[in-house]
Amino acid sequence: MNSIPLSVYLVLALILFCIGLFGALTKRNAVIVLISIELMLNAVNINLVAFAKYGAKPGLTGQIFSLFTITVAAAEAAVGLAILMALYRNRKTVNVDEMDIMKR
């Protein structure tokens, strides 16, 4: 039954997190950057759920936490996209490298 060790889940989560991170850092399209961040959040969720089962103190807490994370992620996606729309309206682009308002 317990033939799958915890570390395998963690490594999977790590791989997904790294993919998400790489995407967030290198993609120019803002939508893809947002979605990469979602991927990173998902990787974290895997960790939470994995620890809920295999952790030092197994229990439901990890799962509940992941639920909260998902909620927050959804909210984040909505707001992020709203910001994106507003930006797009002003600058007619979704390229991240053209968004340098923060410099000023």
Partner: protein, 170 residues
């Protein structure tokens, strides 16, 4: 090799493949679709971790809601093909190196990590137990989440709404 393992490997492969595809594709819509695969595979992995409710939520929210929002976002904005404006090679390489280093360090950290024996009873009445916990022990965070969602909703609307006064001025 048990069935569980096989299932896990297939799902993990699917998840990673979706991610890698997302990185390598050039069409934005294709990228999002590739990521749907990953989200679905992650939902499967939740099931192997005896978290059926989380898996269901994952399918509903990620594969459903968030993906749809993203697609809307893509449709509402104009997109050149992503290849037209590639990142500078240097940035990509450096970011890649940083991420790889990060990966290595974390990998060494979590390698051969094992903490106690797995819980055996998580899958029994999983949804019910989560519900009970959420409405008793975690009631305050739960309510706070709802407030957060409301605020996000209002905020998203305010942000995305055209500035009518300004429009009117024009």
């Amino acid at each position: 090799m048990t069935g569980e393992m096989i299932a896990f490997f297939i799902l993990a492969l699917a998840a990673i493949a979706g991610g890698v595809l997302m990185i390598n594709l050039s069409n934005v819509v294709h990228m999002v679709v590739a990521l749907v695969f990953t989200f679905l595979a992650i939902a499967g992995i939740y099931i192997t971790l005896s978290a059926e409710f989380v898996a269901a939520v994952q399918v509903l929210i990620y594969s459903g809601a968030i993906t749809i929002i993203m697609l809307f976002g893509i449709m509402l904005t104009r997109h050149e093909r992503d290849t037209a404006s590639k990142m500078p090679r240097m940035t990509v390489l450096l970011s890649g190196a940083g991420v790889a280093l990060f990966f290595l360090i974390m990998f060494f950290g979590i390698n051969r990590l094992s903490l106690g024996s797995p819980a055996a009873d998580l899958h029994i009445e999983n949804t019910k137990k989560i519900g009970v916990e959420l409405y008793s022990k975690y009631i305050i965070p739960f309510e706070l989440t709802s407030v957060l969602l409301l605020v996000a909703l209002v905020g998203a609307i305010v942000l995305a709404k055209r500035d009518e006064e300004k429009e009117a001025e024009k």
